[in-house]
Symmetry: C2
Subunit: 295 residues, 2 copies
Amino acid sequence: MRILFSALLAAALAVPALAQAPKPLTPGAILAAAPAADWQAVDPNDLLVLEFGPARRVVIQLAATFAPVHVANIRALARARYYDGLMIERVQDDYVTQLGDPSGKRPLPSGVVQPAPAEYERALEGLRLDVLPYRDTYAGLVGFSAGWPVASSGDRAWMTHCYGMVGVGRDLNPDTGTGAELYAVIGHAPRALDRNIALVGRVLEGMEFLAALPRGPGEQGFYEDPRMRVPIVRARIAADMPAATRPEFELLKTASPSYQAWWKLKANRQDDFFLRPAGAVDICNALPPLRKGRH
Amino acid sequence: MRILFSALLAAALAVPALAQAPKPLTPGAILAAAPAADWQAVDPNDLLVLEFGPARRVVIQLAATFAPVHVANIRALARARYYDGLMIERVQDDYVTQLGDPSGKRPLPSGVVQPAPAEYERALEGLRLDVLPYRDTYAGLVGFSAGWPVASSGDRAWMTHCYGMVGVGRDLNPDTGTGAELYAVIGHAPRALDRNIALVGRVLEGMEFLAALPRGPGEQGFYEDPRMRVPIVRARIAADMPAATRPEFELLKTASPSYQAWWKLKANRQDDFFLRPAGAVDICNALPPLRKGRH
């Protein structure tokens, strides 16, 4: 916060004697200046790594805090090689990219709880929530908990369907998801899905691949032509991979001074061509910034 | 509204004597039942048609109500064949796809106002606004006017940066846009851009093409490799095209009973796997539905 406010203050107090007022801070500059203590390494046991072929890798951070049974299922599915050979089989514009087993016949390995309990929401109690002090269209309160975007009604809390969030496909009946089918949000946040389906994570790498796939021609974007489907070559939990190829990420802690300065600036841009700061920021435009590697 | 409420009422009052309660209505069923009077044909003088080659057409509805000078510029640019040969030169994930003149040297035709006035907002007075009665993160009031998503502070009104909305690229200084460079939003609504740049329309056809282009490798998604750029073969105003090839669209009038039933249902889904209706709908998830052709 110090960085942000001092820069804005300096700009506001700039007097003609100064040859040039300091340039307003950018969000990127805040991230570049964030000290190591403000970043948090992601546990490699919480990273699902999907390889689709050369230079097409998707890395998903798993949210055990909110969907522990689904996340345990996903780890078990990856370790049993269940995902290897599964397909991206649905891409619906402004909605989701989804992977699964087009044949619907692949048996689930042992150790997978089926059906998993809903895990669509949980008690707010026991969560540390860094609140965004802005109105939300769908919930009384929004913020971040352990890096996850969260909405709350005061007693219950749930993750929100933002761009890049990952959920578990299920049939019409609730409690029919396992983790065997996953979807990623590739459009404007479909928040009406919140509390209706289990969110299990966030894509940290590979959105530019998942979001740029051809949209399926049918009503819900399914690839009915099998040649459109994109197979998963290999899926692993990062903790099981050799250190040399294991992806590593750090997220900016939402409780840190750097994150607090960053979202305030996102809500009040003065740099570049911003003439009129928005005065607010949507939760889905404020997901914790990340960086690759260890620093 | 009649359709919606009677169906919900019937479901709520269903008694065991009924073999089967009526299925809850879907948004699609409301559209299918909407009478002709609830639809409004889009003026062909307000349609910019961009052809990128076989089966890759983008049709943009222009918003003369909100940006009359920019829209007049765009019509003049299309009629002078200025856009023919321009390129998609930037695709930034979760943000925008942008077209322009990579050389920056193509002279603007006469009749183009340069720079165009900002046109970032206008008076609310004189607009009919069909209000969405839900909180918005960025503005005191949101709704639709002549089919456009609009936010208002009470005296001023402006269009909102929703998925599929089209704006005019400009340099860092305000009032430097003309309409020669256009961008479409391909991610979660970047509402912080509202009132900072001129919105001029909405993509009615071709988002599945614009949003699925490869993301540019650079910081802002620019295609620095010219081979990635996608040329516009031909750009025309629909009114100037032969009737046989001219695209035609109808939008659901936001003042109509069908639209009012549709957005209430979007906010309160009971069908399919919705267990817990959201109780609200974001303006960017409620853009007026459209259909192709004349009915």
